[in-house]
Amino acid sequence: MATYQEFIQQAEERDGVRFSWNVWPSSRLEATRMVVPLGCLFTPLKERPDLPPIQYDPVLCGRPTCRAILNPLCQVDYRAKLWACNFCFQRNPFPPQYRAISEQHQPAELIPQFSTIEYTLTRATSTPPIYLIVLDTCMDEEDLQALKESLQMSLSLLPPNALVGLITFGRMVQVHELGCEGCSKSYVFRGTKDLTAKQIQEMLGIGRMAGQQQRAPQQQQQQQQQQPMNRFLQPVHKCDMSLTDLLGELQRDPWPVGAGKRPLRSTGVALSIAVGLLECTYPNTGARIMLFVGGPGTQGPGMVIGDELKIPIRSHHDIEKDNVKFMRKAIKHYEGLSKRAAETGHVIDLFSCALDQTGLHEMKSVTNNTGGHLVMGDSFNTALFKQTFQRVFSKDVKTEFKMAFGALLEVKTSRELKVSGAIGPCVSTNMKSASVSDTEIGMGGSCQWKFCGLYPNTTVGLFFEVVNQHSAPIPQGGRGCVQFITQYQHSSGQRRVRVTTLARNWADAATNIQHIAAGFDQEAAAVLMARIAVHRAENEEGSDVLRWLDRMLIRLCQKFGDYHKDDPNSFRFSDTFSLYPQFMFHLRRSQFLQVFNNSPDETCYYRHMLMREDLTQSLIMVQPILYAYSFNGPPEVRTDRILLMDTFFQLLIFRGDTIATWRKAGYHNQAEHENFRQLLNAPSDDAQEILQTRFPMPRYIECDQEGSQARFLLSRVNPSQTHNNMYAWGTDGGAPVLTDDVSLQVFMDHLKKLAVSSSS
């Protein structure tokens, strides 16, 4: 293994893991002095087409408190047919089917290259996935039409045995029965009334089934079990015709909307009914509730805003001033729902398309806790939504849906290490074990987390605490181990278990700090810090979080920087740390922590994405990528360049004035300016490539310098040249960015000053 860089890359490729520290400080005290916590970004379902198909159950450690899974790090006594658990050191006999084991003849799970391995549990029954569409009908005719078409199209993307259901809502909530002949049938609920799960089930005539089943003899039982499914959730192949018709006939919510009023939209109740419906019919079965909203909930539980248009929907400012009438109640309502859905392993997706906010801020928990998608757009009648929605049903190389359901991620650690929490699109199951730390970061107090929806790129931040006391040094060459066990329902319906087992070296920080520093993964650290910061920002004042970030950065600089006291100019950072301050600079300015100019909905959308994407994507979000296309020169805002900026959420092509003028003049259409045409097309082509793969589809913007859309770019670039300093900096043709933010240069200078200051 050559460099840490390569090691890190390999670990990521093989195991989907990026640790902030790849060499671990061996005592608790030292670990806390590392400033950046020991943690990792783990992608449980990282696409691994190369994994062998293993059709048997994993072998577990026999100690009831351990139950770790046999892995390549275990010591194996081939003669005695024993293996020693590398977490609890229990010696376990191999099960009978392993009796043929030998050094030459090893099961896959013992082969070192399979530190990540996947078992397919053959005994578990496989069930088809379930899709419950919850559709807002209070929207423009155009939007609704587009949405209906998208939905109709999606039916063809679903596996034929998938079950689908439809709930529509506006002022009322309608649960449609599918497959009725002659007279379409739906159950209607008042949108203002919060119903308990039991009530909903009774009203839908599905709650009773349980009672009847108990009494009924076996045969009837089966019929009865069919019943609820047959009425509201039907296999696609049976009902796609009627569902297509039903969607086709779907009208906008007919209740009149007075002048100066918002339509009455019962989002909260609709979702509650959807959750209730699945909860009792298909608990612990993979299911997605796909909620489409075209505006804020305006009545009933979970309402975000009243129907008076003259009262605008809350802003960050209002929230800060605690001037939000419905927010707290709504948040509580949706949190309750998200917990119920998470409990039964159902995913809730939220597709929100409206020009104004729709209350994502209140509803965010339903997607965050269940691993659902959150998509925000301006209109359902846009490519952004249509493509994104289509991409929900995209397939991998094995033509399997890129979605998994009801996943449980369990973390096992060796004794010196405990897990203190996770930050990601999951909920804690509050599973206690010896690996659970007392200190919490993110969702702690558990060694297991539930991801109702899991995708190949879903990445969770996991945080660890070194608990080894300074007084009990770890022998040289000792390694700490972590095992991630992910059980999930594959999109094919199979139950699978993926096991990733890792080990890292311990190092004594007192003597080998340079080893530890060398093992620092600044990218992972930046993203983990970003997750912590965002997680804290959800509950704390934004300024506190920024201050905390700054403090952490300064402390890191103090700890690992090379400098003379009180001499800023002497400050040097090693390569492994050098980019970290820049990431922090951008993180501080980013929309994740700066709410100014963003609505609460946008903020929550951005944060949502940061919490689930893998490291690369997260870094793009934190520090946008800027490509420059020109005949020469560096990427700056200049008139003779084309810039392509990727902020993850937006993909922006910015044509400098000169380029724009040329383009308007039509040079690219002239044969003699072929090179100009190529220049012009280069960024678009690159953009298309990104657009093809990213979920959700980024907002794609092409703009010219001075165009209004250029603001997206100008708000994110490093304001190295602003109206404050443009005259000082000069005349190299760069255009100023109008902002009060400091530039990276200023930030760095200041940082150095603080880092070297002896007083701080």
Binding site: K185, S186, R190
Partner: protein, 1127 residues
């Protein structure tokens, strides 16, 4: 009970084992029967072996013991008066005596038995001299006259008979109190029977007497044959020479002067007394003083019970009286009777008999009125004019007072003071049918549009402009005839007066010249000052297992789209403005979106029944023309969708709430039609318990089952009223569904209940559809408020009918249609002036079927009087009955049945006593003198007391009882009249050429001939009774079988045969049905079949099921009461 399922299902024929609510077998059996069984069992009387009246058990006796009730093969009457055939009637006495019973007929037939005939004759003691004067006036010809009918007690003769019978005379008298006790003690009338068992001989005697006594009045012709006083008898009461009036000493000139023509007396007391002596058997006792007479009434009672000639001691009463009841009366009654016996002997003996034919006959009255008024215009130009009877066909010409079809007063001459009215006890009130249908040759109230300012009204009392407003000051101001306030005439309304002080435009403006007219209302008269939307009809159909199974849902859905073509519209409309909507329900509610743009209807299920709401807005209520296809498709789908339903539990409260919510959402008034089949026991608002206990009916505890078990429905109903939502229910119960509770919704919202017990589409479908059709198409007004304004001095105090009042003056009616009547009681709060009269204005603000807001005004002017006689002369008996009935029904849930009966009896007695005291010329107390206008009061009040609505006992179901109570509560005068005195039409001797209905027969079994066929109808159901000896040709013609025994009495339908008899009979049935608001179910009753007792209980001149007195008995009792009061 009223609408039992199958034709024969009156159900006496069912084996006792039948379950009350079991599924209706084809043959059907009614609860009534079972009730009977139960009660019998209760009393432990084995019915089986005991033929009533000692007659041989009927040969066929298909139904075992119970059959005892109906007459034996010979048709022996239960009540003694009737049987001509009675060879064995007088088993205890000489046969000759038996013949005495039969009054005239008998005479005619057996002229030879003169001595015996004389005997009764003598009893009546109509001496020639006295009788002559009595006949004098022809009251009915002279409307202003009073006629009195006196039935004089006949003292002495009894002795003779007693001798024959053996038992000492006094015993007869002694019985009487007992018998009457029946009224007052709430014991079955049959009490009288008790003694009989003790002293059979004595009873025989009684019956003998009884049989003797045809009352004189009507008997005119017979006496002549006696040779006694030919001259006097000759003229029938009407025909008597007027001059004779003055003659009789008893006839004092009426105090008020000539207008008041004499009373008609039959047999002045003295004469009376004398007569019997003469004619009586020589050995008979001394002539009795008139004063003693009271005794006789009792005897009659007793006699009536036992039946003529039914000498055998067996107490087994006929007429469906459970014998057990009689037995169980206990010793108290007996003791009383014995006590009575002890006392009476000295006073003794006035044993006489009334001939039923001599008693005032409604048939006579009706026919007389027809003769006088029939087919003539009735011009309403006079104050206090008494209109023709409701049974008379007449044409109204509105000349300032409203048509009697709209408003009938109980009294057209109001006493000026409260004291007078109180003394007389005559109920003062109005029966208002504001939207009554007018005859084709009469004009509907014209519509007046007074423009943007709305109708002209009195400033003070807000009365509307009417013909009685007095214009003064050259027409610049007018004085209100109600409150005398003077109001400026608005300039646009000004008109000059002519020399009479009348406006020149008098004839141009309906509001100045007519009794009834309508104003177009302005927005001031609308809710929220907004003109209303056209109303809507919502059909809400129960689709639980029962409703689907019995065929109601398929039938209804199949027919409904035809019926919808009949939605009411105004004459100038192409299409009805009424919108329709549909809901089905079981434990959930299913609304339907019928938007015409849809390819198929959409069902929207609302399961949140605790908080019902309207799930859709557009498309629920649609105009027929806009969504015809979708509606048709829906009606096709509903039976299919629910064909296999297993749901048996249903609800009702949320259904009503849903209908209400729908109308509210559409912001319109309307009516919801609920088609419902069972007790709402599902867990939902308005859930009810089954608390049925029909044994309570008739007892002091009956109100426990007759009052609502929860206030939920009345609250819902009040909400409905506020929103102008009226509720009609069509009920198809197989079991108790607590109509007392759920029916409230209908009564409060101005709706109506239709009930089809054990409904099957095959047998009841036609009736149901007819009723539904009528309910859909009949003229109706929505969201109405009625206000009755009266002259100062009187005011309306209470209101009866299907209505709601949130304050004391405004009658709120979610809807009111042409069949619904509202009774208003009026009280004095000051004196009235004789010269100015009294005015009444009924103003009804409502929404028309096309959504116009209008005011309908009815004006009525009445006279005022200071003389009792004036008042008695202008009473409207049928309206009085209607009002008393409704007042009494109101009491059912407050007072005991006994108390209610006593009130009625007392009121009746007081009225008659008052008349006797104040208006009749001095005469012997032994005479029963009745005012001409109210001579039917005893009969009618007795019918009322006996009616199922008021005193239906355990032989009908609780629901039937409630249903009848609610039905009567909304009845107009015509309906109540026929309900309390059913119409009995002979069908066997029809004039095949005629097209009108045959003259009806009195409602007594005495009038049923064995060779006859009769149609009986009371507006609710109808029966054809077929005598066993009816002419086979007739049977062949009508039923296409050889003999009555072969007639399929279960069919309930008349065959369509092409012969004059069949056509005529069917024609009559049709015509009768057409006259009534409901489609009356037709039931065939063969003489002596199991159904006969049920049939007979409609014969209200006879004794009733539950101890109701016969007419004769009642009249006698009344006589006694009157005398007691006089004394």
């Amino acid at each position: 009970m009223y609408n039992p399922q199958a034709g024969q299902s009156m159900g006496y024929g069912q084996p006792p084992g039948g379950q009350n609510y079991g599924p209706p077998p084809v043959s059907g059996h009614s609860m009534g029967y079972q009730q009977q069984q139960q009660s019998m069992n209760q009393y432990g009387t084995p019915f089986s072996g005991k033929p009533a009246m000692g007659q041989p058990p009927p040969s066929k006796a298909p139904m075992g013991g119970y059959n005892a009730g109906p007459p034996p093969p010979t048709g022996q009457p239960m009540h003694g008066q009737q049987n001509q055939n009675g060879p064995y009637t007088n088993s205890g006495g000489p046969s000759s005596q038996g013949q005495q019973y039969y009054g005239q007929q008998q005479q005619q037939r057996v002229p030879t038995s003169i001595p015996n005939q004389r005997l009764p004759q003598a009893q009546y003691g109509v001496p020639p001299a006295s009788s002559q004067p009595s006949r004098g006036p022809a009251p009915s010809q002279l409307p202003t006259q009073m006629s009195e009918l006196s039935i004089s007690g006949q003292p002495p003769l009894p002795t003779g008979q007693q001798q024959m019978r053996g038992p000492p005379p006094p015993s007869n008298t002694s019985q009487a109190p007992n018998a009457y006790a029946g009224y007052s003690t709430n014991q079955p009338y049959s009490q009288g029977a008790v003694p009989s068992s003790n002293a059979p001989g004595h009873w025989a005697a009684t019956s003998q007497h009884q049989s003797m006594g045809p009352p004189p009045t009507n008997m005119g012709p017979q006496p002549t044959s006696m040779g006694q006083a030919p001259a006097s008898m000759a003229p029938p009461s009407m025909a008597g020479p007027p001059s004779s009036m003055s003659g009789p000493p008893s006839m004092g000139p009426p105090p008020s002067g000539g207008a008041y023509m004499g009373t008609q007396q039959v047999g002045p007391p003295s004469g009376h007394m004398g007569q019997p002596g003469m004619s009586g058997p020589p050995s008979s006792g001394p002539p009795m003083a008139g004063g003693v007479t009271p005794g006789y009434g009792y005897q009659q009672t007793g006699a009536g019970m036992v039946g003529p000639g039914s000498t055998p001691p067996s107490p087994g009463m006929g007429g469906g009286m459970p014998a057990g009841a009689a037995m169980s009366m206990g010793s108290a009654g007996m003791a009383a009777s014995h006590a009575g016996m002890m006392q009476q002997p000295q006073t003794q003996a006035p044993q006489r008999r009334l001939d039923p034919d001599q008693m005032p006959s409604p048939i006579q009255v009706i026919e007389d009125d027809r003769r006088t008024h029939g087919n003539q215009p009735f011009t309403t130009n006079q104050r206090g004019q008494v209109p023709p009877l409701v049974t008379t066909d007449f044409r109204v010409v509105d000349q300032g007072n409203c048509s009697p079809r709209f408003v009938r007063a109980t009294v057209y001459n109001i006493p000026c003071t409260q004291d007078m009215l109180k003394q007389s006890q005559v109920p003062l009130g109005l029966v208002i049918t504001p939207f009554a249908e007018v005859k084709p040759n009469e004009s509907s109230p014209p519509v007046v549009d007074n423009g943007a300012n709305g109708p002209i009204r009195c400033n003070r009392c807000k009365a509307y402009m009417c013909p009685y407003m007095q214009f003064i000051d050259g027409g610049r101001r007018f004085q209100c005839n109600f409150c005398n306030c003077i109001t400026e005439v608005p300039p646009e309304f000004f008109q000059h007066l002519d020399h009479m002080g009348r406006r020149l435009d008098y004839y141009d403006r309906p509001e100045l010249s007519l009794g009834s007219y309508e104003f177009v209302a302005t927005t001031d008269y609308c809710k929220n000052n907004k003109l209303p939307n056209p109303p809507a009809f919502i059909f809400m159909i129960d689709v639980t297992y029962n409703s689907v199974k019995n065929g109601m849902v398929p039938l209804l859905c199949h027919q409904l789209h035809n019926l919808l073509e009949r939605l009411p519209k105004e004459t100038d409309q192409e299409e009805s403005s009424i919108r329709v909507g549909f809901v089905t329900y079981d434990k959930t509610l299913h609304f339907y979106n019928l938007n015409g743009a849809l390819a198929q209807p959409q069902m929207l299920v609302v399961s949140d029944i605790n908080d019902v709401f309207m799930p859709l807005l557009d498309g629920f209520l649609v105009k027929l023309s806009e969504a015809k296809l979708v509606i048709d498709s829906l009606l096709e789908q509903i039976p299919v969708m629910f064909r296999d339903t297993r749901e048996t539990e249903t609800m009702l409260g949320p259904v009503i709430e849903a209908g209400l919510a729908a109308l509210k959402a559409a912001d319109c008034a309307g009516k919801i039609f609920i088609f419902h089949s069972s007790l709402p026991i599902a867990e939902a608002p308005g859930r009810l318990k089954n608390r049925d206990d029909r044994k309570l009916l008739g007892s002091d505890k009956e109100k426990l089952v007759l009052q609502p078990q929860t206030t939920y429905y009345s609250k819902v109903a009040q909400n409905c009223v506020a929103a102008g939502c009226s509720v009609d229910m069509f009920l198809f119960p197989n079991a108790y569904l607590d109509l007392a509770t759920i029916g409230q919704v209908c009564t409060i919202t101005g709706g109506q209940c239709f009930k089809y017990n054990y409904f099957t589409a095959a047998s009841d479908g036609e009736r149901f559809l007819f009723d539904l059709t009528r309910d859909i198409e009949r003229p109706i007004a929505f969201d109405a408020i009625m206000r009755v304004r009266t002259s100062t001095g009187i005011r309306p105090t209470s209101f009866h009918g299907n209505l709601y009042m949130s304050n004391t003056t405004d009658v709120e009616l979610a809807s009111i249609d042409c069949d619904k009547a509202i009774d208003v009681e009026i009280k004095h709060d000051d004196k009235l002036q004789e010269e100015s009269g009294a005015f009444i204005q009924i103003a009804l603000l409502y929404t028309t079927i096309r959504g116009q807001r209008r005011l309908r005004i009815h004006n009525l002017s009445l006279n005022c009087c200071n003389q009792m006689a004036d008042m008695f002369r202008s009473c409207e008996m049928d309206s009085i009955l209607n009002l008393i009935a409704k007042q009494s029904l109101d009491q059912v849930i407050h007072a005991t049945p006994k108390a209610i009966r006593e009130v009625i009896i007392n009121q009746c007695a007081t009225i008659l006593t008052c008349y006797r005291k104040n208006c009749a010329s001095p005469s012997s107390p032994g005479q029963l003198i009745l005012p001409e206008c109210m001579k039917l009061l005893p009969l009618y009040s007795n019918s009322l007391i006996k009616s199922d609505a008021l005193s239906g006992g355990s032989d009908i179901t609780t629901d039937d009882r409630s249903w009848l109570m609610q039905s009567v509560n909304a009845m107009d005068v015509a309906s109540s009249h026929v309900y309390f005195y059913p119409r009995l039409l002979p069908l066997h001797n029809l004039d095949l050429e005629a097209t009108n209905l045959p003259v009806s027969t009195r409602c007594t079994v005495d009038k049923l001939q064995e060779d006859g066929v009769y149609l009986l109808e009371n507006g609710i159901s109808m029966y054809i009774w077929i005598g066993l000896h009816v002419n086979p040709d007739w049977v062949q013609n009508v039923f296409s079988v050889q003999s009555p025994a072969q007639i399929d009495i279960d069919s309930g339908k008349l065959l369509q045969l092409d012969n004059p008899t069949s056509i005529r009979v069917r024609g009559i049935v049709e015509q009768v049905r057409k006259e009534r608001q409901r489609y009356m179910k037709l039931t065939f009753v063969r003489q002596r079949d199991t159904l006969e007792p049920w049939f007979k209980h409609f014969l209200c001149e006879d004794k009733g099921f539950n101890g109701g007195a016969s007419y004769v008995d009642y009249l006698c009792h009344m006589h006694k009461e009157i005398r007691n009061m006089l004394n």
